[in-house]
Structures are given as structure tokens and as C-alpha cells.
Amino acid sequence: MTSAARAAGGLRYACRVIPFPATRRSVIERIRGADAEVRRTAFGDLAAGYWRPSYHYLRLHWRLTPEAAEDVVQAFFTVAFEKGYVERYDPSKAKFRTFLRTCLDRFVQNTQKAERAEKRGGGVDRLSLDFPGAEQALAELAASDLRDLDRFFRDEMIRALFERAVDDLRRTCEESGKAALFRVFERHDLAPSPDASYATVARDLDLTVSQVTNYLHGARRRFRELALGHLHSLCGTDEEYRLEARELFGVEVDP
């Protein structure tokens, strides 16, 4: 927080400001880089960000069984890494998630032609993914409008992105000894019904209203930072990231 903000009657945070992680680059940049470890990490981020949207997409659009969908997800990301699908991405033709979804469609079609999904090692670990959790979430998605597949895929990508950001926020707050920050955020912004006032939250968590306001602002800002960080790692180019950030949070980022 700048000194100007403090001088303007700004709030004093009770917690230490959590440092922002190093700026992420777009997934294409990292995957096309020379460093093998960076490439693996980039692909890991890709898989982490897109596996749930892919799973839900396979279940609802392709109507695969849970087992088949799980196999396809695992195989797809493995093969995509091995065969360098992502490196063929051309930003001038479509957004990265549209490209990825198209690759997934083709993969499913090819897999269905073959008799079984091939599982290969290829130097990439089998992803440890919460498929049961994804399956549980499917109930709420059953009524989703699948007429616009790109929109559905995007919405799922955002959901997964937010979920990761929330989990990261919880983890980083606990690691820095500021669990109260996350508790306020969880109690107010993650409550099932949006009618919790600051006073109610303060009473429930034995805090002052001022503390609730402080913590909430800090948590929301941190959440946005984490979400933007993940978003950057899921976009094909910096320009795509800039546009997505604007649409998602109404901010102009400078990649």
C-alpha cells in the first residue's frame, strides 16, 4: 500500500502483506522455452488448470462414463505433452482454450476409433487428480447450456481457476500465520447465502468491524492476484491474457 493511500485515511492491515509471486508468462512462452524443467512445470500448470473443465466437458458433451472420461483426461494431457500439441498453437486463429478443446475433441474421436485409450509414460507422471470430486460437482452442471461449447469450457476453466486461487489463498494465509484473513473471506464471500453483514461476521469471528473490513479487502486483493497469476499461465499469449483479465476482473494488466 502506498504512503499516499495511508495518508488518505487508508486502512492499516493487521497482517503482513503477502508478497506477490514472480510474474508468470504465458503458457506458450514457457512451453516453447529451452528449459526442460520450465516446460514440465508449464505443462503441469496447463493440466492443473484445464483438467476439470476437460473432464466435465467429456462427461456432459461426449457423454463418456466417469471411468472413460478419467482415462481420456489422463491420456490427453500426457499425449499432448509428448507430441507437442500445444506448440502448434497459432494465436491468430483462436483463443488457446478453444484450441485445446478442439485438440481434446480430436483426441476423443481418435481414441474412440481405437479400442482403448493408450496410456504412456514419456517422462510425464500420471496426474494426480481429484476425479471423484469432479464427478460430484457434475450434478450442478447437469443443467448447463451446452449450445455454446466454448462458453461452457470457458466457464469451467474459470471455475477451476477460482477454486485453485481459493485453495492457494487458504494455504498461503495459513503458512504466513494469518488464517484469520482467510476465515473472514470464507465467512463473508464464500458463504452460501450473500447476506452476512460485516457486523455479523465480526461477531461470529470475534473481531471488530474494522478488522473484518481490513481482512476482507486484503483477502480479495490477494485472491485476485492469485487468480490472475493462474490465468496468465493458462493463456496462449500475453494479449489473450490481457483480454481475459479485462473481461474477468475489469483490470488492465501489463503482462
Partner: protein, 339 residues
């Protein structure tokens, strides 16, 4: 992993997008709109117990170019106290150091949405003159808007007309000072940040932007650029379209409008839309003067009348007088015949 329902996803998007103010005076209620430079939210002023509008920049960080422009916009608005300009109540910093300002919450619709009510010349003229009057006031205060268009004009619930979005306005005096300072110090990289933009920047909206702005010379756009935009706005009010670059097209489309504007009014519009700034009205004040003459039935500077046109205008302007004289003459002739 935490599971987020659709409602929670939307809520998180909303709260994470909201600006965080550094004080408790204002409580953000809902988003109103978003432009290229900033986003506007309805908020409640807890001290005065009223609803206001808060505009924050879309800058990702304080002191970014967008942030500075928002600050500039607030300062410009604060200088312009006029019924046609939204008053600024307050300005300050967000939690993260970016600027915001607080203004009156205007309830109404933009001119773009209000077009259906502009069926007659009288209605169009009333709205347009109020816009021109507001811009003339700004010109008199040394400020050029540079982005006039239907979506930046709002018609309030009680018929008040407001010119919005002064985000790319240019302060002429400051621009001249900076130019002079730049020339004195021979610093070729002097930044016109407080007067607007550095040279070579294109500001404005296609179809309403003066040719000199479209060529990328917004830094030198003066009052004639606003006059062009006013002409384009008036053209739009008659035709529903942005003004074309070709003068012949302008005349043709105005003629095809239903109802078409009178010759003198069409001439005023064409003069505003002249390609060369020197061929237009020098300022919105001059335009206003010609419009006043038009309304009074007098000749306008934009149109050279033929003798027949002048006679016709005179007859229309003094029609009551002419009718009375005619009645007298008819009566005299009638008596002569009867005799």
C-alpha cells in the same frame, strides 16, 4: 479442492472486481458501466446519505497512464461547473493507491438510446443546443472534450442534458505551457501528460473524430475538433449514422433524411464537418451563435442565401405582419371591385 457453485463464482468475480476504497465513507453498491479508461459504480455516501457514482481507472497499478488520465479527468470536471457537466463531489485513492473520483449519479439514458424521442427538428435542436452550449462553456474555459459522441451525451429523467466522459479532454493552456517549456529546454521527449496525450496518439471515436484526430494528431486537436464532433453528432441525430468523410455523401444523406433538415441547418452541419479545421466554426460558441440566428429566422454564416431564399425567409419570419398587410390589400382591392 474447494468446490464453487455458479453463484459463488459470480460473487467472487463481482467482489474481486470491485474497487476497494481507502475509507468507509462510500459503499460500493453495483457496477454501472465500463469504458476503455475506467469503470463506474453506483455507491452510497454514508456521510450524506445519498447515492453517488464512483469512477475508478482500469489501471492495474497506481500511477499507470490510465490512472493519471482518471486523475486528469477529475480535475477537468472539477474546473467545469455547468448544468451540462456532471459535478464532481470528491476524489481520493483506492486501497491500492489508484485514483477514483465521486460524482453525481445521473439517472437517464444516453442519446444513443434516446434517439426514438427525437422525431422533430425542434426536439433535436433543443438537445443539440444544450450539448453545444456545454461544449462552448468548456471551450471558454480552455478545455477541449475530444470524444463527443451519442453515448457520451446523457438525457436525464427531467430532460436535462449532460456531456459525459471527459477522460481524454485536453487543457489548452497547460498544453501551450508544456510546448513552450519543451521548446525552451529543447527536451524533445517532454510528456504532455497533464494536457492530454503525447503527439501521434489517436484519441476519439471513429465517425465522430475530426480528420486531424483520425490522422493521429490528437495532441493538437483544438476547439474545431469538438466542432467537428458536434457536427457529426447533429448529423447522427438526423440520419442515425456516423458522418461520412465525403462532403457529397453528407449532403446526400441529409437530403435523404426524413424529415430532412432545412437548407440553412444542413449548411451549419456541413460547415461543422468541414475537413479543414479552419473551414469550421472556430469554437462551439460560434456554432451556438449561428444556431441562435437560425432559430430567430435570421441568416446564418454557414449559408449564402439567394435573393429568393432571403425573401422567403423574411416572409416566413414576419408571416403575421405579411398576412395582415395582405388582408388589408385584399380588402382594398375587394372594395374597388365591388364599386
Amino acid at each position: 479442492m474447494t468446490w464453487l457453485s455458479n453463484d459463488l463464482v459470480e460473487r467472487l468475480r463481482d467482489v474481486a472486481s470491485r474497487p476497494e476504497l481507502a475509507s468507509d465513507r462510500y459503499v460500493i453498491l453495483r457496477p454501472i458501466g465500463r469504458g476503455g479508461m475506467g469503470s463506474v459504480y453506483a455507491a452510497r455516501d454514508e456521510q450524506l446519505g445519498r447515492e453517488v457514482a464512483i469512477k475508478v481507472s482500469n489501471a492495474a497499478a497506481p500511477a499507470d497512464d490510465l490512472d493519471q488520465r482518471l486523475r486528469q479527468e477529475a480535475r477537468v470536471l472539477a474546473r467545469l461547473e455547468h448544468p451540462g457537466i456532471v459535478p464532481v463531489h470528491d476524489a481520493g485513492l483506492l486501497d491500492d493507491g489508484r485514483w477514483f473520483y465521486v460524482m453525481k449519479l445521473v439517472r437517464g439514458e444516453t442519446l444513443a438510446d434516446h434517439a426514438a424521442a427525437l422525431e422533430h427538428e425542434a426536439a433535436r435542436l433543443v438537445i443539440f443546443e444544450r450539448v453545444a452550449e456545454t461544449v462552448a462553456f468548456a471551450h471558454a474555459a480552455g478545455i477541449v472534450h475530444r470524444d463527443l459522441k451519442p453515448s457520451n451525451v446523457m438525457v436525464g429523467q427531467f430532460g436535462e442534458v449532460l456531456v459525459l466522459d471527459w477522460g481524454v479532454a485536453r487543457v489548452l493552456a497547460r498544453a501551450e505551457e508544456e510546448k513552450a517549456a519543451s521548446a525552451r529546454t529543447t527536451d524533445r521527449h517532454s510528456n504532455n501528460s497533464m494536457s492530454g496525450t503525447s503527439g501521434g496518439t489517436r484519441m476519439g471515436t471513429a465517425g465522430f473524430m475530426a480528420p486531424e484526430q483520425a490522422d493521429g494528431d490528437s495532441s493538437n486537436a483544438g476547439p474545431p475538433a469538438d466542432v467537428y464532433a458536434l457536427g457529426a453528432l447533429f448529423f447522427w441525430m438526423w440520419t442515425g449514422r456516423a458522418a461520412p468523410a465525403d462532403v457529397n455523401d453528407i449532403s446526400r444523406r441529409l437530403g435523404a433524411a426524413s424529415p430532412a433538415p432545412s437548407k440553412r441547418l444542413a449548411a451549419i452541419i456541413r460547415k461543422c464537418l468541414s475537413r479543414a479545421p479552419t473551414d469550421r466554426y472556430a469554437s462551439a460558441t460560434e456554432l451556438m451563435d449561428d444556431l441562435a440566428r437560425y432559430r430567430q429566422g435570421s441568416s446564418v454564416s454557414a449559408h449564402r442565401e439567394t435573393t429568393m431564399e432571403r425573401a422567403g425567409r423574411w416572409l416566413v419570419r414576419y408571416q403575421t405582419f405579411v398576412l395582415l398587410v395582405l388582408a388589408y390589400l385584399v380588402m382594398r382591392v375587394a372594395f374597388a371591385f365591388l364599386r
